[in-house]
């Protein structure tokens, strides 16, 4: 495809409380064996994008380890290129936005041979065929195409995510933020398609952007000024934007429903990830598991319901786990009761015999409780 796929950094206010302290949102474990960025990378790979740039704003090691050379994503190492870009963040944090991140990657952008760029968020759980959208963008003649999804639950989901005001010709009038005031909204997928030359113009122009603008702000200005033709393309597939702990929890839990899983994971559109060669799950005699997704390497001797377990989690006899998300390599000792808990990697629950409440509790990485 004649487009560079750019995985953009997440907006400054997006925070998966607790989990994003240790790694950028795209790097957070999802549904046991994936990381959130696997969805966007798989979409790029399946859309035959040969040049992928991943912008990362913090803790690049976690992502670099997971992505490696890109071979797990079926990205041909000779024909294609996958690069991780870690901008040097100078000055106060108001300058650490995606435009600066992209400016840091200017050379790579200029030297690439592709004519278009597709900028998409790394914190989105989505399955999208960009070939279709690039075609639509080119044939429309628009300067920028932005992708959106029409939702009817914007009062409950997609809080703090941008939404679009779209005119009858599908032109973008302006970008605002969804605060949950209305049920119906055109939610931004924070995905932008344009000619590379235009992106370079935006990055280098003092007029088109301000020192503190994010790309969404620059595009909003361009829409309002009516100088540019910005068109909205609709997407109606599966979409989750992980911008908070609540969004993270709900996006995982909804996958316990097989019809939702079928929407997100389609046979001919594989979601790739790195393998860890973990062995199959061992269920002891006396174990009781209901409505749960269990990753390889787990050892289950207790009761697990309505939960998602990552790799190599041990649940000892008598433990009762309900509505939890447990990240990899955790140990839950005998007779522990857990409900509504998210446990980060390598934690051991040894002494606390009951952690259960109606609110979500987050247990930190490596904690011994």
């Amino acid at each position: 495809m004649d487009a560079i796929g750019i995985v953009n950094i997440s907006y400054k206010e997006y925070e998966v409380e607790g989990l994003s302290d240790y790694r950028p949102i795209p790097s957070i474990s999802f549904l046991g064996r994936y990381r959130i960025i696997d969805f966007q990378l798989s979409s790029f790979s399946n859309s035959e994008i040969n040049n992928v740039m991943i912008e990362v704003n913090q803790n690049v090691k976690s992502l670099a380890d997971h992505i490696g050379t890109g071979r797990s994503y079926n990205i041909n190492s000779k024909q294609s290129h996958l690069g991780i870009f870690y901008p040097s963040n100078v000055g106060s944090s108001i300058y650490h936005h995606d435009i600066n991140a992209l400016k840091n990657s200017l050379r790579a952008l200029k030297m690439s041979k592709e004519n278009y760029v597709i900028i998409a968020p790394g914190h989105a759980v989505v399955s999208i065929d960009y070939r279709e959208y690039l075609k639509k963008h080119i044939s429309s003649g628009a300067d920028i195409s932005v992708i959106y999804k029409k939702v009817s639950n914007a009062n409950k989901e997609f809080i703090s995510i941008p939404k679009y005001k779209i005119n009858p010709q599908q032109g973008l009038e302006k970008i605002t933020i969804n605060h949950g005031d209305e049920e119906i909204a055109d939610i931004s997928l924070e995905t932008y398609i344009m000619e590379k030359a235009l992106l370079l113009k935006i990055l280098e122009s003092k007029r088109l952007n301000s020192a503190v603008y994010w790309l969404r702000d620059a595009i909003n200005q361009m829409a309002i000024s009516k100088e540019f033709d910005i068109r909205c393309l609709e997407y109606s597939g599966f979409y989750k934007s992980i911008n908070s702990l609540k969004a993270y929890y709900e996006a995982n839990m909804i996958m316990l429903d097989s019809s939702e899983r079928e929407k997100a994971f389609q046979n001919e559109w594989p979601i790739y990830t790195k393998t860890h060669d973990s062995e199959p799950v061992l269920y002891c005699p006396g174990s009781k598991v209901k409505n749960s997704l269990i990753s390889n390497g787990c050892n289950i001797c207790g009761e697990v319901s309505n939960s998602i377990l990552s790799r190599n989690v041990t649940i000892e006899k008598g433990a009762i786990i309900d509505k939890c998300i447990i990240l990899s390599d955790c140990y839950i000792s005998e007779n522990t009761v857990l409900k509504n808990v998210i446990i980060d990697r390598y934690a051991k629950i040894l002494y606390a015999k009951k952690i259960a409440s109606d609110n979500l509790t987050y247990i930190k990485r490596d904690d011994i409780i």
Binding site: E279, P280, V281
Partner: protein, 373 residues
């Protein structure tokens, strides 16, 4: 190229007729084991974990799948600049009749040129038939310490079973003085595991002599006895750990069931000696609210809505509501429809057990393979 202290050759050419229809269209080393693996993953992973860079795999019988499987050498980490897994089927050569490998030793003899290209000091010969985890570097250390011409790995078998094996009789220092094939009155309980380390230059000489002789061209029957009668320095290396032959339907079933037995020491979760296998893109397994799963070993991609007890389920197996799977081994992508029952059976890849169908093994484990009962 990096100097090779030892390269490995895996004998993966056999059919394994006692596995019946499991090997009708598939070489024995490609047969499924342990919820996720194929038999050949064990010697390949052991080699990788032992620091061996070069592995030749001698294939012959129905090797189409096996050939493409081992070609993905990255699965075992052997796709680096100086490492590799090399598929070696019999080949046509100038001045020679195109034929099969005439025996285990002949398979090596026909590939002397391949081995020579690495100038290895030692060569490790492995069969692709057993389930075990072993660090061959330790065996090589033992081989070098004893300045052996040949080191044979041995396993201490129960005395009542010793007559079924090739038995090594050794001095106290483990030097082998006698080898008896299936002795009626065994003098020791050290059974040959079919794992040999040979000093290459010396083995080459014996292989070239054997090539022209009228023998079975077999290591156990011909090469080892020749070494013994020439008083070569041969040592037995004792292996401790799990070692199982999976050559029959019932032993394959039992070896799978061993994974549910906490007394059995085969630990597939051991990070230091992991067994690697081809990756799949399947989701983590889903266990539904109606499911009942007890004492089972289940892999990625499975969806369980029914009952699974004392069983091993491979990738992507689906068990529908009210279906019962007990004491069985279900290979990848088996579907068990509503109300069906599978008991004491091995069900082959992609088989669909239909609604209300019952497949019950008895004392004898029932084998059901796609296309036939």
């Amino acid at each position: 190229m990096k100097k090779q202290e030892m390269i490995a050759m895996i004998l993966a050419g056999g059919r394994g007729t006692r596995l019946k229809s499991l090997t009708k269209k598939n070489a024995k080393p490609a047969v499924c084991y342990g919820g996720k693996y194929r038999i050949i993953d064990f010697p390949l992973s052991n080699c990788s974990n032992s620091g061996i860079d070069i592995i030749g795999v001698l294939t012959q019988y129905e090797n189409v799948f096996l050939n493409s499987y081992i070609a993905q050498s990255s699965t075992w980490g052997l796709d680096t600049s100086d490492s590799g897994i090399f598929n070696l089927p019999p080949r046509e050569r100038e001045g020679k009749d195109f034929g099969v490998y005439r025996g285990t030793a002949d398979a090596i003899t026909q590939n002397i040129d391949f081995i020579e290209s690495f100038h290895p000091e030692n060569i490790l010969i492995l069969s692709g038939d057993h389930i075990y985890k072993m660090n061959y570097a330790k065996m090589l250390k033992f081989h070098k310490e004893n300045q052996a011409d040949c080191t044979i790995a041995v396993y201490d078998v129960p005395v009542e079973e010793a007559s079924r094996f090739g038995i090594m009789n050794c001095h106290e220092n483990m030097r082998i003085y006698e080898f008896e094939e299936k002795p009626k009155a065994p003098k020791s309980t050290l059974a040959s595991m079919g794992i040999y380390i040979f000093k290459w230059d010396l083995l080459k000489k014996y292989l070239l002599i054997d090539e022209k002789a009228y023998t079975d061209h077999d290591f156990g029957k011909n090469i080892i006895p020749a070494y013994l009668s020439d008083d070569r320095k041969m040592f037995a290396y004792r292996f401790h750990g799990y070692w199982k032959d999976v050559g029959t339907v019932s032993s394959l079933w039992q070896a799978n069931m061993d994974l549910l037995d906490s007394d059995v020491e085969l630990d597939l979760g051991d990070r230091d000696m992991r067994i690697y296998t081809a990756n799949t893109n399947d989701l983590p397994q889903y266990i539904s609210s109606e499911a009942e799963v007890q004492n089972a070993f289940i892999n990625q991609g499975c969806e369980i809505y029914g009952t699974v007890k004392n069983s091993i389920l491979f990738t992507g197996v689906k068990v529908a509501k009210n279906a019962i799977v007990e004491d069985s081994v279900l290979h990848p992508h088996v579907i068990v429809e509503e109300n069906a029952v599978v008991s004491r059976a091995i069900i082959g890849e992609n088989v669909k057990v239909k609604k209300n169908q019952a497949i019950r093994g008895t004392e004898e484990i029932k084998l059901v393979v796609d296309g036939e009962e």
